[in-house]
């Protein structure tokens, strides 16, 4: 039940995790920013975070579809739980060489 916080009444509510995602190349150009910040109701897997990006930044949809997330400079698996403190980047279709 995401969003439902049991117990410890009287304490401040649990902070929603906030993810900063670095953008490069075409993705960065698409929204004119080199990063986006995503507020999520709970800690996300890689695929969930991609879903949140699309929800909150629809202009990035095609980039997210063809892209992968890198976490601390390595590609993350789809179901890997992502630490909000990690260095996260959206790696869209690359074109080096």
């Amino acid at each position: 039940m995401p969003g439902c916080l049991w117990g410890r009444t009287g304490e401040s509510s649990v902070e929603m995790p906030s993810y900063t995602i670095l953008l490069f190349g075409p993705a960065s150009a698409a929204i004119g920013q080199d990063r986006v910040t995503i507020e999520s109701p709970s800690q996300c897997t890689c695929d969930e975070l991609k879903g949140q990006v699309v929800l909150q930044f629809p202009a990035l949809e095609t980039h997210v579809q063809v892209g992968r997330l890198a976490v601390d400079r390595g590609f993350a698996n789809a179901d890997a739980l992502i630490d909000p403190a990690a260095e996260i980047a959206l790696i869209t279709m690359v074109s080096g060489g």
Partner: protein, 125 residues
Amino acid sequence: MAVRVRLTDGALGGMVRAPFTPGCGARIMFDGVVRPEEDGQGITGLEYEAYRPMAEQQLERIGQELVEQHGLISMNIEHSIGFVPNFACSFRLVIESAHRKEGLRAMDAFIDRLKQDVPIWKCAK
């Protein structure tokens, strides 16, 4: 260290010819060159952007993997960042190996991986 990686601002110049590493029977050098058109459109060059720390790490990792897999002697990888004009070199890969076959195979494999897994993007200008 068998693998060396360098990201360089602008076009890659001529390489100083290093002496051949002992054991090397074949040195293969690949220069990727900017062509004056992209998708049929005339351009003046390519602007490369990288997620630098990850690009360096990926180039190093892919290099190490291929050095082990193919038993190479050394791999030297250089890629431009920023603007590279037409007819200039934006990527250079130098592989030393005992024999040519493994060097050629590794070169092909490296460039496939570069175009798939290294966070560098180009934009026609």
